[in-house]
Amino acid sequence: MGRYVLKRLLQAVPLLLGIATVTFFIVHLAPGDPMDMYLEERYRREMDPQVIELIRKKYGLDQPIHVQYVKWIGNLVKGDLGESFRYRRPVASLLAERIPYTLQLAGLALLFDALFGIALGIVAAVKQYSAVDKSVTVGSLIVYSIPGFWLALMLVLVFSVNLGWFPTSQTRSLDYDLLSWSGKFLDRLWHLVLPVFVLGVASAAGTARFMRGRLLEVLSEEYVLAARARGLRERTVILKHALRNALIPIVTIYGLALPFLLGGAVLIERVFAWPGMGLLAVEAIGARDYPIILATSMIAAVLVVLGNLLADITYALVDPRVSYSAKRPA
């Protein structure tokens, strides 16, 4: 098992290198060189060309492109993502502040998805063609098609503006610092309800559809027939024999869900003024803060790679058919 994990980790290295390379080339594909990004037009015209040349030298932009590339990769390995133009702070520390907020949203949304998506999928499959099944299949497609940020706006309108049940935005109330320990916890939770629901519900809809399909497939397998023939109760057949096998591919699905969640989180963070890395990226675009724009995309990609890695390893843990060695049994 240890060797399998190590092997998958090593396979991720070229992928990470590729991500860094693609980002590097996007920067250099952009019109002008990074100097143009760093200095606004009006300053550039007023400045002494020699000073510009000096700054160019300071950032290594006078070097040939392959030297710049090697330096860029070297800095990344050291965890140096450059410096934000706007905040004049290392991008890495800015991201370190913001990423936990995004992961909080995405993680809880995944939990929501796992609880409701899987359960609804099971119910729909077990009672195939019933009213429940039909409303799950049709309802999930509808929910899946509604743009998350619009759903967020409508929920804010109903539950925050009209009913006043939940806060409209932010991560905590104004009087947060005055609250007791448990009050603080509840306050944070209270602010999480709407964003997590919006982010999780679309993902849960997808999971429900997938889970239903998988379980129906498994229920038509011969070993399920055999279990029934042995006179086991339907409950046991479904929960012990069918469900286990149907759940395995769900792990991969969660690995694939991460890019959607992170992408969706950008818009949800904007609606709820949630200070995650999506909002950081959006603000950076408005301020033409290029190092942050690049770093957020790159880090999002790295998170996806890590998520898939985790999914692969979990898959190997839960599915005994995956062999840890290089050669697969026939």
């Binding site: 991500i19 996007i26 706006l153 997938f210 290029y290």
Partner: protein, 387 residues
């Protein structure tokens, strides 16, 4: 049957009215569609005659296109109707029941698709939306960017005069939504064309040549796929100043990876089939093998992913415009209307409500269409969260 058959000359005369000839010949479905289409177009022409005439002398290209489309589609339906009726009359055995008409894969798929009511309904909705978008200049009750007495007309709730209400500048939201449909639907469709063309070509080339080259190309796909698509779009929109053309390219060039993988998979299994081996044996160049034999046979799954993709891309454009970095005001798109809607949420719910409904209906229709196409054409290999 025989005695009901209308006289040849009379039929030719009647078929000038689109669909009537088909109805007389017993081709009900085609007849009803043609008739309904022509009547609708005719009514629009009659109802908006002034706008129609003004369009040809006015400076607005969109209005000109809309009017031209109206005329051409009316004329087209007449010509098609006459020719098609003649074709049916002259084809041997046209009176026989249609169930035996054929069993080609396309006909089988068509029949299966027609049996899926949701998918057919979705197709009608999509057709209607695109029609509304093209004809927007003729249909919109007001100028979408006209700002008059703002204080009197701003944030009017939905009413008979303004079915969707008005926004913060007192502009009619129904008109803006119609014009917004032009932008949103065309951006989604064009970006899909970019993504599908590039992805299909990429996947076909990788699959056909195989070996080291294939490996290299697919590793690049792995890298691009690792980026959450929306972040990649954000990054590119942030770096390149995005006008509408650049936006279409960015949306398209960040969405091709799924198609590339899909097509490559299809090509790999097609390559082993006899007809491709035959093509190679007679010495066809790679270019012809790829374009004549491999790609056409992978088209079914490409079509399904195309339908799925349009919905996703329309959503992505709306998202970017909502963030203020896609289509910029005053050009209306459903996304930037939603952005204005968020600012107005406390005072005017309708600003955000209606464009979002249209967006959701559009995306839902494309998803239903894709589901229907997938079932009809028996495509199984789609990489999608729900399979």
């Amino acid at each position: 049957m025989q005695k009901d058959r209308p006289d040849r000359a009379l039929l030719a005369l009647l078929s000038v009215v689109p669909g009537l000839g088909h109805l007389l010949l017993g081709r009900r479905s085609r007849g009803v569609h043609l008739l309904a289409f022509a009547v609708t177009m005719g009514l629009i022409l009659f109802w908006r005659w002034d706008a129609f005439r003004a369009a040809f002398s006015g400076p607005d290209v969109g209005a000109w296109v809309a009017s031209l489309f109206l005329v051409l589609s009316l004329a087209g339906s007449v010509v098609f109707s006459v020719l098609d009726v003649r074709r049916i009359r002259e084809s041997p055995g046209w009176q026989e029941p249609r169930e035996h008409a054929g069993r080609s894969p396309i006909l089988v798929a068509r029949r299966r698709f027609a049996a899926n009511r949701l998918a057919v309904a979705a197709l009608y909705v999509i057709g209607l939306l695109y029609l509304l978008a093209i004809l927007a200049p003729l249909l919109a009750p007001y100028d979408p960017s006209a700002i008059e007495e703002v204080l009197k007309t701003r944030y009017l709730p939905p009413s008979w005069n303004h079915p969707f209400g008005t926004d913060d500048f007192g502009r009619d939201l129904l008109s803006r939504a119609l014009y917004g449909a032009r932008v949103s639907l065309s951006v989604g469709f064009l970006a899909m064309l970019v993504a599908i063309s590039f992805g299909t070509l990429y996947g076909a080339v990788a699959g056909h040549f195989g070996g080291f080259f294939d490996n290299l190309l697919m590793r690049l796909v792995d890298v691009v796929i690792a980026f959450p698509t929306f972040f990649l779009m954000l990054m590119l929109v942030g770096i390149f100043e995005a006008n509408i053309v650049v936006l279409v390219l960015i949306l398209g060039l960040t969405s091709w990876t799924g198609t590339a993988r899909l097509v490559r998979g299809e090509i790999l299994s097609l390559k082993a089939r006899e007809f491709v081996e035959g093509a190679r044996a007679i010495g066809l160049p790679d270019r012809l093998i790829i374009f004549r034999h491999l790609i056409p046979n992978a088209m079914a799954s490409v079509l399904v992913s195309a339908a799925l993709m349009v919905g996703g891309l329309i959503g992505a454009e709306a998202g970017l415009s909502f963030l203020g970095i896609g289509i910029r005001p005053p050009t209306p798109s459903w996304g930037n209307m939603l952005s204005a809607g968020q600012d107005a949420l406390l005072v005017a719910w309708w600003v955000a409500f209606f464009p979002g409904c249209l967006l959701a209906i559009t995306i839902l229709s494309f998803n239903l269409l894709a589901d229907g196409l997938r079932d009809a054409m028996d495509v199984k290999t789609l990489m999608r969260k729900y399979v």
